[in-house]
Symmetry: C2
Subunit: 433 residues, 2 copies
């Protein structure tokens, strides 16, 4: 039996899960791998963690620097999240000869090039399976299982909070605000839910997946993101009626045009027949299309104490195998980047659109709107206008493929019409799987 | 760039896919890994392969022994399938210092202990991702991504042929024989479809998955299997009406009783809400439940030239990384087996059952059947008997949890009743996901 010594920085939900999982399943892990994972130090600023996890004085510390300086520690597991001091700990840890396992998507996505250059420089490994989709091995699958493929497309439901909220709205008829409150009560949403509901968390994860899939340093700042806080129940119901669902999708696609990709996060209308439609509640689902394997789907719990701890343990074992066999590590670095890859600006993407207008109910309104759309190269595939008996009525349209810039320009013109009584809305559609 | 030299034995559908995929994506693979995969020899008994794949004289041979003797070859990719001579080539190849990549589920599942003991003895690696579910990385996920978990359950749709046939029956109303003919015409079923339709292929794959999941040498001979050739369209329609679907499932479960597992393949009734219900046509889907990650699903193409080649390339790259870094290989062997694990006999399993009787339509029939069931500890959860106007009518029942042995005994007694006009049928139900 070979021992691998771990130092854990941050023992909140996920960190506690790691301690508990290693305690519970160390026998299974040893039996399958011949490795004994020893937790030598746990650092947390919250003193209560010590009793809660029954850690003795030699193991618990409130000072993370002790872990960085602890000579015998092989792997630092960083689970405090955020940029600072996590970044400092990771970099100093690598300098001190330690490998890193982290779930920190905010840090990796915004400092991707810096962090991995340093890992390269110090010849250290960084495991980050837990940073995307919790226990679902999407990073391992893209990096290793699909290595023979040109990855063409990723559609990911990567944020459990927003998927839970959208499911509540759709299945129980809540408006966004009520659904958010329920999610907060049940612990699926933070007190300040901005990162989740505005799509930032999904964009962090998309930066990681697309950088791996396209073997490029995708610039987080160029990823377009838009959350679900403007989604009305009424849109969900219209869309359901038309045979579609609304999901917050993280989308990465290689464009036919060489050297260009799309990376964007936004509420997306997908057909009910798309298997991602059936990813409900707090679950994550990722569709990956490779030129050899075709379409694959990975589904599971994308957050939570033990599912995320499962990914952390998987990274620990992978790195341990390499440490214990004296493997020189550089083949596992991201080898040679495709630095030419540019991200298309959102105004230049082409997709189908769902449009919703609120107009007065009088003759000629549909003609006025259709005219503007037609003049801007937008062709309509279906129209839904129900008799409501109200003075102001909604008109819903689905377009054929259109350029986003044309949509924006059209809606500006349409919103100036005196028959239009509210800012018009659009939601992007992705048909193909 | 480091070169890894490959010898390919068997260049049929999958072998040709491997040659084509390595040619097409060698740039991507090198960029991501720093490895150049060189195919040094291709052996096939069919001389036409040479022209079809445009292989020159130095590379093509009809004599597989040339590959085994070829000193510089690092990895032999065995894709001829079947037991002999594949077994001989694999064992001789390892003796000659070569690592092995294979898709041969028939061989591995029946000679699991022998093959892996020899791999251990010769310190050689065997990659077999392609042996189960084609391009879906279920083996890597169980062995590496879920290493921190106690695996509780696997439900797999592992055979594309039978899933295609069941989908055709359900969606287009064909009887089994017609659907099989269509599958054969489209190339989804072999001329002799026995291995697929009788569940043998799924059982091979289940031996592999359960041995990995439970870290045991599961004895293939003790895996119960039953195919779909006795499934009638009428059963599919009844089941659909009740909110269920019929799938050929490969099931592995750790029993609550320590040291016992269930490993069985048979047509299985699952609720429509189970995500495996939406695995259609030739696709594969595998549900895995781990004690830390909870329920996960892996979905994709389980067969075909390029999807399977994708798994082969993934294994080649994994082994190459280990060869090139001089990694001593034994941590990747299956370390220490849980040899105590026994497989429960099928007559001792407990599940819910779908029962279908054909009886004469007269008073007291239902009472007679219910009496026998009751006397054998079988409790009925629902009954469906439609007015047909015929003299012989079907009665369909779903039971609560029951012991299979009790079901068998009851049906024997029921089939002796003079009101019962046809051998009664049962299909097992799995509710939980």
């Amino acid at each position: 039996m070979k021992e691998i010594k771990i130092g854990l920085i941050g023992a909140g939900t996920v960190g506690s899960g790691v301690v508990n999982l290693i305690r519970k399943n160390s026998g299974i892990i040893s039996n399958k791998t011949g490795i004994k994972i020893s937790i030598k130090k746990v650092a947390d600023t919250n003193q209560e963690v010590k009793n809660k996890l029954k850690l003795d004085d030699k193991i618990f510390t409130t000072n993370a620097e002790e872990i960085i300086e602890y000579k015998e520690i092989d792997i630092i597991v960083e689970l405090i999240g955020g940029i600072n001091p996590a970044k400092k700990y990771i970099i100093e840890g690598m300098k001190e000869g330690k490998h890193i396992v982290t779930a920190n998507k905010a840090l990796l996505s915004q400092y991707w090039e810096e962090i991995f250059s340093l890992a390269n420089k110090y010849n250290k490994l960084i495991g980050f399976e837990a940073s995307v989709a919790g226990g679902v091995p999407i990073i391992k699958s893209i990096r290793e299982a699909l290595i023979g493929n040109r990855i063409l497309k990723i559609y990911g439901i990567l944020n459990g909070t927003t998927n839970f909220i959208l499911t509540k709205m759709e299945e129980e008829g809540y408006e966004f605000k009520q659904a958010l409150e329920i999610a907060q009560k049940l612990g699926f949403a933070e007190k300040d839910p901005t990162y989740d509901i505005e799509g930032i968390d999904s964009a962090h994860k998309l930066q990681i997946l697309s950088s791996l899939a396209f073997n490029s340093n995708i610039d987080f700042k160029k990823i377009y993101y838009e959350g679900i806080s403007n989604i009305d129940l009424t849109d969900i119901l219209y869309v359901n009626n038309l045979g579609y669902k609304i999901k917050l999708l993280a989308i990465a696609k290689i464009d036919k045009e060489e050297g260009v990709c799309e990376c964007r996060v936004h509420p997306t209308i997908i057909p009910i027949a798309n298997p991602l439609s059936s990813v409900r509640k707090e679950y994550n689902g990722i569709l990956v299309e490779g030129d050899a394997v075709g379409v694959q789907i990975y589904y599971g719990k994308g957050a939570g104490s033990l599912p995320t701890a499962s990914a952390i343990v998987s990274d620990i074992v992978d790195i341990s195998n390499k440490i214990l066999t004296n493997q020189s590590l550089n083949t596992y670095q991201l080898y040679k980047k495709n630095n030419e890859l540019k991200i298309k600006e959102i105004k230049n993407i082409k997709c189908r659109y769902y449009l919703r207008f609120k107009t007065v109910d009088k003759p000629g309104v549909l003609a006025k709107i259709s005219n503007i759309l037609g003049q801007n190269n937008i062709s309509i595939s279906s129209v839904l206008q129900k008799e409501t008996g109200q003075k102001v009525v909604p008109i819903v349209m689905l377009t054929h493929l259109a350029l986003e810039n044309d949509i924006i320009n059209s809606l500006k013109l349409i919103d100036k019409l005196d028959v239009v009584k509210e800012k018009s809305k659009f939601i992007r559609i992705e048909d193909g799987i």
